[in-house]
């Protein structure tokens, strides 16, 4: 992984001729990673209240980016800009530039519904439809006309459930309601439903906050496997989770992006005192 190489590279740089201590600059750049989402000067207002202030950052592809920060800091607001979920809120205005693979996500020609098939979202509480496990997964592909036959749909459902690490647990009871699964299984069902429409970006808003540690570990393992194929952005209140699953971390405070960098750097040597205070539990 490109990101973890930064630290070792630092430790190896020795120049024998030096007589004074030399410190190599912070290797916070995520060199080599393709940029999936590029946000520039993004501002979000809810009516008169400004929720985000000039946020600019790049989100790398095939990696997990974590947004951390205290409640109300704007991390979820920023996340919801990526699939234009904020469009659904009255009085919400988004300005600035947000490009996905170089294309403006807010261009007039972009259909938000189509955009959302590419940018899937998983929420805090598992929200399966009151339908069978099979239909939960088949729902998206069906409305987008992705399968031409029952066999093709079966394949999509199986592939999606496998990707979400749920297939072995549910393959014999696909007709049973999704709501009858455990919390962790429901969340993986929702992830299966999300990947069924072939997104390339997956947004997760505190996906484990309602789960026990074992279900959480399963989701985290899944996130780690999925990052090979997707650009994943996760909002989490658990610092440990951000540290465990992400390669890049962004810290938000009062609507501003305070600091962003390689997760390893943020959790060992943050530059900004606000980041330092937050992750070490000193925020009053």
């Amino acid at each position: 992984m490109e990101f973890s190489a930064a630290g070792s590279e630092r430790a190896m740089s020795n120049s024998p001729a030096m007589t004074a201590p030399m410190v190599k600059a912070n290797a916070g750049s995520l060199a080599g990673a393709a940029i999936k989402i590029a946000a520039r000067d993004v501002n979000v207002h809810y009516g008169d209240k400004q929720a985000l202030f000039d946020v600019s950052m790049d989100i790398p592809d095939r990696a997990v980016t974590a947004f951390i920060g205290p409640s109300g800091c704007g991390k979820t607001t920023f996340l919801r800009c990526f699939n234009r979920m904020n469009d659904l809120i009255d009085n919400c205005r988004v300005s600035g530039s947000l490009q996905i693979e170089g294309k403006d996500a807010y261009a007039k020609t972009v259909d938000p519904v189509v955009l959302r098939t590419r940018v899937g979202m998983v929420f805090q509480k598992p929200n399966p439809f009151p339908k069978s496990i099979y239909d939960n997964v088949a729902y998206g592909p069906r409305i987008h006309g992705m399968a031409r036959s029952k066999t093709q749909m079966d394949e999509i459902v199986e592939k999606s459930l496998r990707r979400a690490g749920l297939w072995d647990e549910v393959k014999d009871r696909l007709a049973q309601p999704g709501t009858g699964l455990s919390g962790g299984q429901q969340q993986r069902l929702v992830i299966a439903r999300t990947v069924a429409v072939n997104p390339d970006i997956i947004l997760m808003d505190e996906p484990c906050s309602a789960l026990d540690p074992i279900a959480t570990a399963k989701i985290e393992e899944l996130i780690d496997e999925m990052r090979e194929n997707y650009c994943i952005v996760i909002v989490t209140h658990s610092m440990a989770q951000a540290a465990r699953v992400s390669q890049k971390t962004a810290f938000f405070h009062m609507g501003k992006l305070v600091e962003t960098g390689a997760t390893e750097e943020i959790f060992t040597n943050p530059r900004d005192t606000r980041t330092q205070d937050y992750i070490t539990g000193r925020f009053g």
Binding site: P21, V23, R282
Partner: protein, 228 residues
């Protein structure tokens, strides 16, 4: 820095830092007493240094125990992580300093059985420098003073230079009078121990740099020790 929201966490971090400072004091005393035992031919003091060494070892175990507890129960991050890690690493260095001081004390016991030799003075001088080096670096730790740590880091070549000159001096003595070989060999080992104490001080300086800045010192340290 501001207090933790969980106060007990701050207290535990302070406690481990204080324990390192206390251990540093023990190691410093061991070095200066061992040297005094050599200089004053004080057998009793040499024995005290040897007997006190287990206290330094116990301090190291205590620091490691506290560090393990902090890792397991508090999951320290960023500057807190560096505090715990640095305490652990410095404790390891100080334990070695304690062992080297004990070794000097043991050699003092042997030297005190032979005729006094003049060269003890040169070893004493080198010992003063090594002792001061250790004191400065421990002060730098207590004050989290990165510049003072860098100064110590840069001054280790002074100890190395003393060791080299002492080495040559001792060789000359041994060639001139083979009856001196035994005492001179012990003094040479003492000098080598002091040189190593200097190296441990330098390592501690590097850890202080990491503790305060989060960065490793990456340049190579100036060396005056031709033997290595």
């Amino acid at each position: 820095m501001a207090e933790h929201t969980v106060k007990a966490f701050s207290e535990e971090l302070d406690a481990i830092t204080q324990e390192v400072a206390r251990m540093g004091g023990l190691a410093e005393t061991a070095v200066s007493d061992a040297l005094a035992a050599v200089a004053r031919r004080d057998t009793e003091l040499a024995q005290v240094v040897i007997q006190r060494d287990p206290k330094i070892d116990a301090a190291q175990r205590e620091i490691e125990k506290r560090a393990i507890k902090l890792f397991a129960l508090r999951q320290p991050l960023a500057s807190d992580l560096r505090v715990v890690l640095t305490a652990w690493r410095i404790a390891g260095e100080l334990e070695r300093v304690g062992d080297l001081a004990k070794n000097i004390a043991k050699r003092a016991l042997i030297l005190n059985q032979d005729e006094p030799i003049q060269l003890t003075r040169s070893v004493e001088r080198m010992g003063k420098i090594a002792g001061a080096h250790l004191k400065q670096v421990l002060d730098a730790y207590a004050n989290k003073d990165v510049q003072a740590a860098i100064n110590v880091w840069n001054s280790d070549d002074n100890i190395d230079a003393h060791y080299n000159s002492l080495f040559r001096e001792l060789l000359t003595y041994m060639i001139e009078d083979p009856r001196m070989i035994s005492s001179c060999a012990h003094l040479l080992f003492i000098a080598k121990n002091l040189e190593r104490i200097g190296d441990h001080g330098t390592n501690i300086a590097e850890y202080i740099h990491f503790l305060v800045t989060g960065e490793e010192i990456t340049a190579q340290r100036p060396r005056a020790d031709a033997a290595e």
